[in-house]
Each structure stands twice: as structure tokens, then as C-alpha cells.
Symmetry: C2
DNA sequence: CTAGTGTGTATATTTACTATATACAGTGAG
DNA sequence: CTCACTGTATATAGTAAATATACACACTAG
């Protein structure tokens, strides 16, 4: 029983490709541990219908996830979370975090911000953003 | 005498549009104070030749910069840094910095990083990245 | 005032990528 | 075997980035 993915309603006007939003959403799910290794992923058609996107868009997302070793696809069988999908997803998210911090430093310096100000902004963001609860998502369908 | 812009060699394989890279590079220059209000920008053709891109690509970049109030274009005359271009550029860079920090928090949480770890990574990036010297760029040409 | 050379501007075109609809192929249960 | 599910492949429309080429404005030299 594949779960219903936790997706930010797939902003279509965000100029960031739909398939990438799907990739990121799934990486979040897998990284959180809510989808352990071996778990069945939603089928192409199920996810496509659920997100109101094309089947091909889901395929595109799954292709990237398989390329990164997060999931495994088997024709006729289905798609499943890869053995160390969680580790790979977490690793990916860490890389993204470090990269974002580097960009922040660069932009902050350009803006004339002091190091201390950047630290304070980060602290504020940490306080505002709640910790990921790690609670499983309801599996309506 | 328009200056030679400080540009990261315009990575063409980066999937980030050339004109956006140009926009960002110019925002950095203006924000740094190295191009005060009223300074003449490089002409379309000069910049295009210098960066080995099309004239249209430069036009596109300048359009966005004018829209954001960083520069002013005058047909037949040239393009110049807007009255409060520096302030606007700095404001933009600050927004980018805050946004990057927010992304970093999100990704870091997904990666299972503790708040303290994120702070430490930021400190490391701050230490590694040198302060912007604010020194003018050599104006060959 | 009339080139002429600089400036920015506009149009048509090529290319790459996103997203789609439709048809094809493998797997297992009845 | 047949059916209903899975993933796969091909051809197509729409959008955006980047280009070449031709056009319009402004100052200056003569």
C-alpha cells in the first residue's frame, strides 16, 4: 500500500520543473525514514493522477531518483526504495544544505552583512522552522 | 571608460541561463560600490564581445536590471548605474541570502543535521570565504 | 546640415527542455 | 490464457534561452 506523498502542492508557476519538485519531495520522504528500504513507491499512474501531472513527468522524476540510487524500478513489478536510499537521500540533502549556506555567505557578503548578522538570521530561521516530526503520512487513495 | 566586469567565466554547462549569470555578476559589482551611481555600463556590444555571448543576451540581462531599478538605459546614449542602484542591489543580495539560509535549514533538517551542526558549517564557510575586498577591477580594453 | 560611428531596439529563427498523449512491453493472479 | 496491474518507448506541442541580422536614436566631425 503505497503512501500518499507529502508534496507542497506542486507550484506550477514557480518555474522550477514539476519533475524536480517531485524528486525533491520524494527525497525528503525517503530521507525522513518514513519510507524504509524495500517500501513500494506509488505506481506511475497512481502518482500522476494524485499530483494531476502526466505519467511521463513521474517517469522523469523516477529516472533521476534511480540514477541517484534512491529507488529501484522493475518493469511489471513496480518501484521500490533502494537498500541505502535513506543514506543517499540524506547525503544529498546535506550537500544541498552546505551549498545553500555557501550561497548565503556569498550573497550576504555582497549585501554588506556582517558575519554576526548572517549567524543571527540563520538562528532566526532555525527557530521559525519546526523540526521535521518524522510522523508517517496518512495513506489516503 | 566602462570597466571590465568581474565575471565567473560564465559556466555554460551550469544550466543557469547566461543572462542571469550576467545579472548576478553586475549586481555584485554595483552592490560592492565599485560602480557608483551614474557610472557608464559597458555597451551591449562591448560586453557581448567581452563575454563571448550574443548581443541579445546582454540586452536581456540589462532589461532585468533596469526593471529592478539598478541601471538606466537611454537609446543612443548608453546605459548607466541608477541613482540608488547600490542600495537596490544590496537589498536584492540580502533577500537572496535570507532565502538561501531558509533553504539550508530545510535541507539540513531533511539531512538529519542538528541546529548546532548547521551553525558550525556556516561558521566554516564564513571563515573559508574571504571578505569582498571592494577593490576596483582593472579596466582593460 | 550631413555623414559617420557610437549607442540601444526589434524581428525572425534555431535549439533545448518541459510536459503531454498514446501505444507498447513485462509480471503475476485468476 | 486472460486480465489488470506494473514500467517503457515514440511522436508531439509548448515554452524559454540564445542567436544573427536589420532597424532607430544621439552625439560629433567635417
Amino acid at each position: 500500500m503505497p503512501l500518499t506523498l507529502q508534496l507542497p502542492p506542486l507550484s506550477t508557476g514557480e518555474s522550477v520543473p514539476l519533475y524536480q519538485q517531485i524528486v525533491e519531495a520524494i527525497r525528503r520522504e525517503v530521507a525522513s525514514g518514513r519510507m524504509p528500504a524495500g517500501s513500494p513507491m506509488p505506481s506511475f499512474r497512481t502518482l500522476a493522477a494524485q499530483l494531476a501531472v502526466s505519467l511521463i513527468t513521474v517517469k522523469r522524476a523516477y529516472e533521476e531518483l534511480e540514477h541517484d540510487g534512491v529507488i529501484l524500478r522493475h518493469q511489471g513489478l513496480g518501484t521500490f526504495v533502494a537498500p541505502d536510499g535513506e543514506r543517499r537521500s540524506k547525503s544529498d540533502r546535506r550537500t544541498v544544505a552546505v551549498s545553500a549556506l555557501r550561497s548565503a555567505v556569498r550573497a550576504g557578503r555582497d549585501a554588506g552583512l556582517e558575519d554576526r548578522e548572517l549567524m543571527e538570521i540563520l538562528e532566526r530561521e532555525l527557530a521559525d522552522s519546526p523540526h521535521p516530526a518524522g510522523q508517517p503520512i496518512g495513506g489516503r487513495r
